[in-house]
């Protein structure tokens, strides 16, 4: 903190992004832009059925097509048909089915991989899929999670004898504690919320290119991933290629939102086939493939109940989830609901908490992380039921929240779920948001519209959220049975000519790390932002890293940058002292220059030190040449950003159409490195959270056909579907890291969904409505109104 605060030249400024030059001129290196002479193009035959036995598979017909060189089914692939690992066995008895890269004898969801073709061009490879003959015997599919848990249900994995993946229970106050709370309560409100399935829908379709033509027999994989480092470890485990012979590069990556936090079958296929054939192999998905083959997110049935006194004091919270795993377990599929488990109590003081989650297999695309990963689901449930409790008690929903939230002077605060929130100021964020929103005036207008029977009603929705981010203290991950750690790495070096290389283990895909990381280092080292090159996303050039997800990159990676930069300055100080013939403690350092205290004419710049460290002609005896430093930081704890989100929405009770009139949020994400990037992250999160509330939802029919399998059918909002936002912030520095930063990547997506739905329900409450399904499309809202007795 001190080094940054002493010289606040770059941190805190909305510096325009370095990344934008290449992105705005079309000089970007997307994976699909990379061509290697002699490469094969891979196309994949996918299951058209939700569940079927493969009675026979004959790939030989594909080989008769022009330009085709190879075709493989599971049998032809043989020992190369590895299994995708799940790295988060949440319970000792969790059912983890085999997840082969190509289906063996049975397909379990639409999009399941059946066979591949390698050809000279992508068009020829796609054509040749027509030559593959598959005889399917349809099997009964199970799509509905509750049906899947019933005795006699069709089984997704018949060898497992059950569709239940696991049951996880957490009762921090012991079995029976919630029942005791409920017994004392004046009011118990129970609700079932459906947190629907979403499709990440990053704009750059996935692509992967493996080339065996690296130096020293190295095999290089370029892939559109968020996790090049983690992926390399997993690919070694799956393919057997030694880790030191495998280089994974994430070049420019066009969005991820958790959807590229994965070890995908296609990545294994191109790697294994390139290695086997000694030829480069490339695959780029079509959007239609993406919709069925990229993991999905959310998809929980949430039974939640909350117990309170008649004056609104919260006593107990009970949550029982059914979480859809899909047909297989991807790398952290079963753990996603457990990331939410800790956050159901939100910002509130509650006496007892009881959590149960049942993971269940269905004949659908596997689920895994999607922006927020478990926390949007929990935040939705708690913020929705707070409104329902307020209604039951006849209280203003904001008053109920104020009565129960953790007061700013009570931090650090250990919640009923066992987390210790380090800092926060819910009062300050709420006051600011209420002022910007004009809460009282909107309530007045709402009252007038209700009185006059206006067919267009006004609703006001509140969401006061917090989240845990900065994944994660490695010991905590170990306690949760997650296989990897949560540290982050930075190496920083000053080159002989004075330019700086900052090597990070984070792997950005739109977050502007190249700019923001330069800002942090610039202030500490004292060199201009533009002199710092941020190197990332390549296991050869940035060998250590835990990559980018879970709003962790700044909160964890930022600490490594800070410490490495400070170490670098201390190394340089020793050399400068030697050059200037004084003791190191006699030197002051600012603006990139060491000066002798009391004799400022004697100075040495960091660039000068770097050159001396390079020539090594005159270094102190115990100092090694070159000027670089590194740091690997394991975070002490999570950080807890929070915020107050307010949504005013007009609902036409005759058509069901909802229109957001204003959306105000005040987020507290601690110290901000680049407020322009922060604001952009909030905007994007809001859009995705609002999209869950109003527009998006993956829909399967009872046979397992995905009915929303293209951008025509899956409604990603356009500019015309969204409002402008009023965003602001309060700054309560995190105390769990020396930068005082929290995380911002997921905040908007976590907070906004309940704000919007609370607003729609609020608009319709006089009509007897106390819930609307998501997405709250005009049809869904209209039907809800009809079911409640119609517009009045």
């Amino acid at each position: 903190m001190t080094a940054v605060a002493d010289n606040p030249a770059a941190v805190g400024r909305p510096i325009r992004r370095k990344e934008d030059t290449r992105l705005l001129t079309g000089r970007t290196q997307w994976t699909d832009n990379i061509e290697i002479p002699g490469m094969f193009h891979m196309a994949i035959l996918r299951s058209p059925m939700g569940h079927a036995k493969i009675k026979s598979l004959d790939v030989s017909g594909a080989l008769k097509y022009p330009g085709v060189h190879h075709a493989y089914g599971a049998e032809e692939l043989g020992a190369l048909n590895g299994s995708i690992p799940c790295v988060w066995a949440v319970t000792d008895d969790m059912v983890a089915p085999d997840f082969p890269v190509l289906a063996k004898g049975e397909v379990r969801h639409v999009g399941d991989c059946v066979a591949v073709v390698l050809a000279d061009s992508a068009y020829e490879a796609a054509d040749a899929l027509e030559g593959i003959v598959v005889e399917y015997e349809p099997l009964p599919a199970v799509i509905n999670m509750e049906d899947a848990l019933k005795p006699g249900s069709p089984l997704v994995h018949s060898d497992k004898g059950t569709n239940k993946c696991y049951t996880y229970v957490m009762q921090p106050q012991g079995d029976g504690a919630y029942a005791a709370s409920a017994a004392q309560a004046d009011v118990v409100v129970k609700r079932r919320f459906i947190n629907q399935r979403l499709i990440p829908s990053f704009m750059e379709p996935r692509a992967a290119l493996a080339s065996p033509m690296g130096i020293s027999d190295e095999l290089t994989l370029w892939t559109s991933t968020q996790i090049p480092h983690v992926l390399r470890v997993l690919l070694t485990l799956v393919t057997g290629i030694p880790e030191n012979k495998l280089r994974v590069i994430a070049p420019d990556v066009g969005g991820g939102f958790g959807g590229k936090l994965q070890c995908y079958r296609e990545e294994v296929l191109v790697t294994a086939l390139a290695n086997k054939l000694g030829r480069p192999v490339k695959w780029t998905e079509t959007r239609s493939e993406d919709m069925v083959a990229t993991h999905h997110g959310r998809d929980q049935i949430q039974d939640i109940e909350i117990a309170a006194t008649k004056d609104g004091k919260l006593l107990g919270l009970k949550v029982e989830l059914i979480a859809n795993m899909g047909a297989y377990l991807q790398i952290i599929t079963p753990g996603i609901p457990l990331l939410g488990m800790f956050m159901y109590p939100g910002i509130y003081k509650i006496d007892s908490y009881d959590f149960t989650c049942h993971g269940v297999f269905t004949n659908t695309t596997p689920t895994d992380a999607y922006r927020g990963a478990g926390r949007p689901e929990s935040t939705y449930a708690i913020e929705r039921i707070m409104d329902e409790l307020a209604d039951e008690l006849g209280m203003d929903p904001m008053e109920l929240r104020k009565k129960n939230w953790i007061k700013h002077e009570q931090f650090p605060f250990t919640t009923v779920a066992g987390l210790t929130y380090d800092s926060g100021n819910y009062e300050a964020a709420t006051d600011k948001a209420m002022g910007l929103f004009g809460y009282e005036a909107l309530r007045k207008e709402q009252e007038e519209r209700r009185k006059s029977g206006n067919p267009v009603q006004l609703g006001i929705g509140i969401s006061t959220f917090t989240e845990m981010c900065g994944l994660a203290p490695s010991r905590t991950l170990g306690a949760l049975k997650y296989v990897a750690g949560g540290w982050e790495h930075c190496t920083i070096r000053v080159l002989p000519t004075g330019k700086v290389e900052l090597v990070t283990g984070t792997s950005p895909h739109g977050q502007g790390h190249e700019t923001a990381w330069s800002q942090i280092a610039s202030d500490i080292i004292g060199v201009p932002v533009e002199d710092i090159e941020v190197i990332h996303g390549d296991t050869r050039t940035s060998p250590y890293g835990m990559d980018t997800y879970g709003s962790r990159s700044l909160a964890v990676g930022g600490q490594a940058i800070m410490r490495a930069s400070e170490k670098l300055v201390e190394r340089a100080r020793v050399i400068a002292a030697h050059q200037l013939e004084v003791s190191a403690s006699d030197l002051e350092y600012s603006g990139g220059v060491f000066r002798v205290k009391g004799d400022p004419s004697k100075e040495q710049s960091i660039q000068g030190v770097a050159f001396e460290a390079f020539t090594a002609h005159n270094l102190p005896d115990d100092v090694e040449p070159t000027l670089q430093a590194e740091s690997t930081v394991d975070p002490q704890d999570f950080s807890y950003p929070h915020g107050t989100h307010l949504c005013a929405i007009e609902v036409d009770t005759q058509t069901g159409k909802s229109k957001i009139r204003s959306y105000v949020c005040v987020d507290d994400i601690g110290v901000q490195i680049n407020p322009m990037i922060v604001e952009g992250q909030v905007h994007g999160g809001l859009a995705q959270g609002i999209a869950q509330a109003m527009y998006e939802g993956a829909v399967y029919d009872s046979d397992g056909q995905l009915l929303t399998a293209s951008f025509v059918d899956y409604l990603i909002p356009s500019a015309a579907d969204l409002p402008s936002f009023t965003t602001d912030s309060t700054i309560t520095p995190s105390t769990s890291n020396p930068l005082g930063v929290k995380g911002v990547g997921e905040a908007g997506a976590i907070a906004s969904t309940p704000a919007v739905i609370n607003a729609i329900v609020d608009a319709l409450r006089p009509l007897g409505v106390n819930d609307v399904p998501m997405p709250a499309s005009p049809m869904a809202v209209w039907r809800t109104i009809q079911a409640a007795g119609g517009a009045k």
Binding site: P14, R16, R17, E19, D20, T21, R22, L23, L24, T25, G26, R27, T28, W30, D32, N33, Y123, S201, F202, M203, E204, P205, D252, V253, G254, G255, F257, T286, R287, S288, H509, G510, Q511, G512, M676, I677, E679, G680, Q681, H683, G684, G685, L686, A687, Q688, S710, F711, V712, I716, S718, A719, A720, D721, L722, S724, F725, G748
Partner: protein, 157 residues
């Protein structure tokens, strides 16, 4: 195979192509214009938007043979000595994050502003509804378009 002659960013590109070749694939593979990208397969996302004889089109929805004899401008041909004001404005207003939709978003904006140099927020939102962005929530894209309109009105570029 038919031969096409398409002027791409000022240079004539002549090649024999399959009749089914999409213009976007011609631009990427035959003309080496990798700045233009593919985001979907249903003409929904607009990432592949280019100017065809000055008007925006989704290059995934046109065959290369249909563009024969015509002139295409991609994101790589937009800047002259200096950046186009729309490029400047997107950088200034943080109108992009991952940047994948950006080539299409920028080209659509160029067309939008040539048609309507002084659009309202609603006209901007409506005018760009054929271009999807997953990162920005469009807030800063709208601001970028407004800023570009101001820059262009100023006549500085």
């Amino acid at each position: 195979m038919p031969e096409v002659r398409i002027t791409v960013d000022g240079d004539l590109v002549t090649d024999e192509v399959e009749a089914r070749l999409l213009l976007v694939h011609f631009l990427r593979s035959n003309a080496n214009k990798l700045g233009t990208v593919v985001g979907c397969d249903t003409s929904s996302c607009g990432a592949c938007t280019v100017l065809l004889n000055g008007r925006s089109v989704k290059s995934c929805s046109i065959l290369a043979v249909q563009a024969d004899g015509n002139s295409v401008t991609t994101i790589q041909g937009l800047a002259g000595e200096e950046w186009h004001p729309v490029q400047e404005a997107f950088k200034e207003c943080h109108g992009l994050q991952c940047g994948y939709c950006t080539p299409g978003m920028v080209m659509s904006t160029v067309d939008l502003l040539s048609e309507n140099p002084n659009p309202t927020e609603e006209e901007i939102r409506d005018g760009l509804h054929g271009n999807l962005c997953r990162c920005t929530g469009y807030h800063n894209i709208v601001k970028s378009v407004q800023h570009a309109a101001e820059l262009m009105k100023g006549g500085s570029k």
